[in-house]
């Protein structure tokens, strides 16, 4: 394949070639970044919460009088456990995706600065079993370890609580490369011993960074007016359990507001709806861009084929095979799209830097750049195939007659 005549021919169409290169450049840059954003959001949507998601329902109760919350929660739970189909029940404050985030700095030595903050999950005995958390090491809390959160006094239960169970991810972040079980941490004023490690537990609000599982469970009883009851049942019975639970709570005490009765899956879907919308829009944008670019390449190629009928005829007449003509168009496309893709990789980096500055997006992994360029090269070859085959099929004699 001779490069020189091809470049000479392209230089006759400088403006058109420039526009096509420009289009490929923009498409490559945008598609690389969009693909990365889709991957980011997909990862977030798919994060394991650590809970037995399809067996849980939640219902929230806001009491209108502040008297004796602990006794009320205990009596509520006893009544809820009597509902047919309920396997386990617990009163909690925070859940993955429920937005109720109480974070504390977690130093690993007394009076040392905290390197990270972790969400506190408080609940009544049996919380682990109700949520379906998987204990990897250590033990559940002992009955003697439970005490009230003391929400009336700035949640000061945290200063006295003796034990905590952390996620595997948090254990690794607090004590990298060491065994966290049995170690002391200082989220409040006093030492707290890590007595167990669970596999997963997502925070109530997701962030873009690595801290999505910085969660610690405490043996502390919720004692505010607002409380979330979590009930575990079978997937089929969730609807009727929810209905019955709302009735039971209202009957027991009318002086409250019972709301947000929903399955855990609904809670999760509502929280992630924005991400799903974004994934859809990003996918649509990427597909649209690639389609438009493919159409542009194919359209331009077919114009050029028509324009060069004479030249093709002459080349065929002096001995060029059909394969030569086909390869000529493919090589030409390879040059143009390749130029655009290389520029596009550079522009993708620039675009990513802008996105990082304005939208707190992480750095684009380098692997996306060659992948995006390769995708466009492939797309260009596919788009040019039709016109190139048509060019190769032109009968030389007819073209030469000047038809």
């Amino acid at each position: 394949m001779q490069l020189r005549p091809m470049l000479a021919s392209l230089s006759r169409h400088r403006l058109t070639v420039l526009l096509l290169v420009l289009q490929v450049t923009f498409t490559c840059a945008i598609v690389c970044n969009v693909a990365f954003m889709i991957a980011q959001r997909m990862a977030q949507v798919r994060l394991p919460s650590g809970l037995a998601e399809n067996e849980l329902v939640t219902i929230e109760s806001d009491s209108l009088d502040d008297a004796r919350p602990l006794a009320r929660h205990a009596a509520d739970l006893a009544a809820l456990r009597d509902i047919p189909g309920v396997v386990a029940a617990a009163a909690v404050d925070a859940l993955p995706f429920n937005g109720n985030n109480w974070s504390n700095g977690v130093p690993t030595a007394p009076d040392a600065p905290a390197r990270l903050t972790a969400t506190a999950f408080n609940g009544t005995p049996g919380e682990l079993a109700t949520l379906g958390l998987r204990l990897l090491e250590g033990r559940d809390f002992l009955p003697g370890e439970y005490l009230p959160v003391d929400s009336a006094h700035d949640w000061s239960g945290l200063d006295r609580v003796p034990a905590t169970i952390v996620t595997k991810a948090l254990a690794e972040r607090l004590f990298p490369g060491q065994d966290a079980l049995g170690r002391l941490v200082y989220p409040g004023n006093g030492p707290v011993r890590i007595v167990g490690v669970v596999e997963h537990l997502l925070r109530p609000r997701l962030r873009d960074d690595a801290g999505n599982e910085d969660s610690m469970l405490f043996p502390m009883l919720p004692d505010a007016g607002n409380v979330v009851y979590v009930l575990r049942t079978s997937p089929q019975q969730r609807g009727q359990v929810l209905e019955r639970a709302a009735q039971v709570l209202r009957q027991r005490d009318g002086n409250r507001i019972v709301h947000r009765a929903q399955t855990f899956e609904q809670l999760r879907d509502d929280y992630l709806r924005h991400d799903r919308t974004m994934i859809g829009l990003l996918l649509a944008a990427a597909t649209g861009l690639l389609l438009v670019t493919a159409v542009g390449i194919a359209g331009l190629a077919s114009f050029w084929v028509q324009q060069r009928r004479r030249a093709i005829g002459i080349r065929r007449a002096v001995g060029a095979t059909r394969g030569d003509i086909l390869r000529y168009f493919q090589a030409e496309n390879f040059l143009i799209v390749g130029g655009g893709a290389i520029l596009g990789m550079a522009l993708a980096g620039v675009l990513n830097a802008q996105l990082m500055a304005y939208y707190e997006l992480p750095r684009l992994p380098l692997a996306y750049l060659p992948a995006g360029a390769a995708a466009l090269w492939l797309l260009g070859q596919l788009a040019v195939l039709g016109p190139a085959l048509r060019a190769a099929a032109l009968p030389p004699a007819m073209v030469m007659r000047g038809d």
Binding site: L15, L64, N104, G105, R273, L281, V292, V295, F303, L355
Partner: protein, 435 residues
């Protein structure tokens, strides 16, 4: 002549019907998507208080310690809220034309009828100047006085929606509302006041959409230990509490009627910072700030990042479509060099050729614009189906409708300009010779 060119354009476009359709589709989608997002951002960045917003300012102070060792529920950087102590000091100083401190909260409202279930309503705990400062329109009654604030009066101002829900069409003034476990006397009813966004609140995803339904004195709410919503950030290890000087949670607004007063208030804030340092507070170097309303909303990113991203995506798509169409038209026009040369040889001027091809690209542009308008209508409809507070705002207004047309025509003319210019520069002799 234009009619003839139009007929020529249609004939030429029909010759490559599939490609023409694709070009129209591309420009239509690009314009439709861009206009959808431009409209959404346009309605969301509208002025929440036309006529007053230029007079309203937010003071920003930073009482945090230099090095924090145990961050308890705290965000980095300069706090966007004030502590109770600082808000009270600024209120007492009365150095602005008007000033008010406020915080959000959700309360259980208990209807007078025994059978009716209590329900939660969003509202705001504010000080007396709130209503005159923001020009909140009263349907009946008035706000309360600074004296009521000091006496922790149990008075409430309702927004129209909650007033109607509780009392129907009867007058609510002087009636009693039970909020959580306390009775309040209604002193005023607002005329369905719903500034978009709820600019005076802490800026988060809830500032668009449903407005506050009740307003009651801040000190009364503190006294009754009502639950406040919003970010509550403390530092230091000794337990805080709402009235401490190391927990930020209050929004604070001032009204300043002239540039001279704005300057004076800036100086006052700097003096205040230094004065507090004399008392052992505010260890960080003085850096008091005063933001105008519009600047504040931009600074706090009132418009969600995802929406901006969607706009850039749409504009990027439109840009690629435009480059695509320029390239295709260029190739298409140049392929007709022979035709152009013959016309030129027969006496057509360059200008005639330019107009002929200009008309052809304008046809594509107008058709694409019409399609774009339909796509934008569809896009806005889909935005209205989103479960967000801003969804209901997504309506096309006259300005945006005209803007869509202008964008479509502008885009197509721009796309056609280069190819048409290039076409009219074709040298006739050279082309005719090669035929």
């Amino acid at each position: 002549m234009p009619a003839y060119y139009f007929a020529l354009a249609l004939r030429s476009l029909r010759r490559s019907a599939a490609l023409t359709a694709l070009m129209i589709l591309a420009i239509g989608l690009g314009i439709g998507a861009s206009m959808t997002m431009l409209t959404v951002l346009h309605v969301m960045s509208g002025d929440p208080l036309p006529g007053r917003s230029g007079l309203l300012y937010v003071p920003q102070l930073d009482p945090q310690p230099l090095e924090r060792n145990t961050p308890r529920r705290a965000a980095p950087g300069m706090p966007d809220s004030l502590t109770w102590v600082d808000a009270a000091n600024l209120l007492q100083a009365r150095r602005a034309d008007r000033q008010a401190a406020m915080a959000g909260g959700s309360l259980a409202v208990r209807p007078a009828q025994e059978a009716a279930q209590p329900f939660f309503q969003p509202g705001r705990f504010v000080t007396a100047d709130f209503f005159p400062m923001f020009g909140a329109p009263f349907r009946a009654g008035t706000g309360w006085t600074a004296q009521d604030d000091a006496q922790r009066a149990r008075v409430v101002v309702l927004n129209a929606e909650l007033g109607r829900r509780l009392f129907g069409d009867a007058s609510a003034i002087g009636r009693t509302v039970r909020l959580k476990d306390t009775d309040f006397r209604v002193v005023g009813v607002l005329d369905d006041w719903r500034p978009q966004p709820t600019f005076y609140a802490q800026i988060d995803s809830r500032i668009f959409g449903r407005p506050d339904q009740f307003f009651l004195p801040l000190q009364t709410a503190l006294d009754l230990k009502f639950d406040f919503s919003g970010n509550y950030a403390c530092w230091g290890s000794d337990g805080g509490g709402r009235s401490s000087d190391h927990c930020t949670w209050l929004q604070f607004w001032v009204q300043l009627d002239s540039p001279a007063k704005v300057r004076a208030y800036r100086d006052f804030l700097a003096d205040y910072w230094r004065g507090q340092q004399a008392h052992g507070r505010f260890p960080r170097p003085p850096d008091a700030r005063l933001h105008g309303l519009v600047e504040w909303l931009a600074l706090q990113r009132a418009i969600p990042g995802d929406l901006r991203l969607q706009l850039w995506l749409a504009l990027g798509f439109l840009g690629v479509c435009m480059v695509n169409i320029v390239g295709l038209l260029l190739a298409k026009f140049l392929r007709r060099s022979g035709e152009i040369s013959v016309r030129r040889a027969l006496g057509a001027r360059r200008r005639d050729i330019f107009v002929q091809f200009g008309v052809e690209s304008a046809v594509i542009g107008v058709a694409g614009g019409m399609l774009g308008l339909a796509v934008a209508g569809l896009g806005l409809w889909s935005v209205r189906q989103r479960p967000d507070g801003y969804a209901q705002l997504a309506q096309m207004d006259v300005a945006m409708l005209l803007g869509t047309f202008a964008l479509a025509i502008g885009a197509s003319v721009l796309a056609g300009l280069l190819p048409a210019w290039r076409a009219c520069r074709v040298a006739p002799a050279l082309q005719l010779k090669t035929r």
